[in-house]
Symmetry: C2
Subunit: 303 residues, 2 copies
Amino acid sequence: MLDVCLLGTGGMMPLPFRFLTSLYLRYNGSVLLIDCGEGTQVALRKKGLSPYPIGAICFTHFHGDHISGLPGLLLSMGNAGRTEKLRLYGPRGLQRVVSMLRVVAPELPFEVECNEFAGETADFEVNGYHVHAFKVNHNVPCYGYAVSIDRLGKFSPERAKEEGIPLGFWNRLQHGETITDGDRVYTPEMVVGPARKGLKVTYVTDTRPTESMVENAKGADLFICEGMYGPVDVPPNFREKKHMLMSEACEIARDAGVPALWLTHFSPAEMHPQDHEEALRAIFPGTVVPKDGISTELNFIDE
Amino acid sequence: MLDVCLLGTGGMMPLPFRFLTSLYLRYNGSVLLIDCGEGTQVALRKKGLSPYPIGAICFTHFHGDHISGLPGLLLSMGNAGRTEKLRLYGPRGLQRVVSMLRVVAPELPFEVECNEFAGETADFEVNGYHVHAFKVNHNVPCYGYAVSIDRLGKFSPERAKEEGIPLGFWNRLQHGETITDGDRVYTPEMVVGPARKGLKVTYVTDTRPTESMVENAKGADLFICEGMYGPVDVPPNFREKKHMLMSEACEIARDAGVPALWLTHFSPAEMHPQDHEEALRAIFPGTVVPKDGISTELNFIDE
């Protein structure tokens, strides 16, 4: 089971009724956070979620509304007595940005590890999450994230018994290990079926539409995408500012064939984004224009 | 008239129901802010106050809960099209801290001027405010602020007419100018009475009790002071952490003879600080244990 919570839905600045966009994923007891603007630690608390299990934070880019909540979150983690390493991921420059923001959080009782990437894509694994970062089109280097939880092939106890494989080897075999036991060799293929469909969430914000978004949304169980502006009060320079219309996000969701889309990163001038939901569903029926704190559980399909 | 609003009453970390401690003063259309932790821009908006008239921000010290809201506030000011210079005041190191935090707000359409001070006290004037900074006792350099609005002496139109002083000179004389007009010399003393009692607010947080606090609270119309801990659940190391009990703040208010005390900077563990108000009034009757956004108007006494 993968818990998904969109802690905030705002862009540009936090508002009394709308936190900044941040995604909270929890799988197997470990939390992956994407983006951390001013107030994200408050949004966490408001949802009754602890910062304690956050093992990693990914940043799309280094504009203030996506990272300025980091020093406060680090301090709160430290005050709570955290000693476990925290892993941060983001575009080239992450180490520099984090070290500068830490001018107000210089001493922490835990290690903060910065992992930078560049280029069109990057892949890494952390705490059971497979993370694929892909470049999008903002006015600074900015990445979307496709986060996947793989699912192992189905283990067949019947086959294992037929082969006479000792019980102590079963788990290791399911995890892909080949085991030599005296003159016998046990391979995963003997007892494990093909890998099954896992879970995938794709998160993209602060960009113009790109082909990479469509490609990386494909196969996602949930696509979370910037829709900064609705059909009215659109600033004429939104393309130069490298932001998207809600309708553009719906078109990408439709083209990618995802089952569900959550829009986010609403303009502070957009007071009632939910008013547009019905019209947007004409473009893509799975559109949800959420409020802060929307959450869901994604489950493996029973086979 | 001096408008006073305590935007938040929290210490250490922002909470869903309690913003971090920040003081908003407005006099003659210009706002002086003291401290700006994570979420202060949200607290402003929640009170319906604009960041636009903020002409100056004073920082007590550079712990995250007192300054980490600065980059977000600067960005929001910039997004709103501000072009007026913003003046910042704080202990030595301000320029360095601000420039590091501005890694996420590097380009702004207005100038940010940093004014540092050191030593036991510092005095400066900004936008009609007289500000006296005085050192307190925290684990990093930290200052309290006594902010005063002076009041000019009373102008006597009767005396001015008797002296035959042209109307066009009256305002200049009231503001202390001596004017030579042909062979006549007009001095303020001819038409202006002695300076009258002005307004004064003293704000102190993040310190153990000091004699400087008592001295600088004297004569204040309102004393705003840290009272991080109530009578229960006090961490044994609060003295080493250089924080204060509510009761200690009340003793200082009593010793300074102020008319009113607002406590602030409550510990996140203190869920119901208001529960202690009645008991604290036994120490100092003018004690208020406020909630976020408490405000008042201070007016010159009619003479």
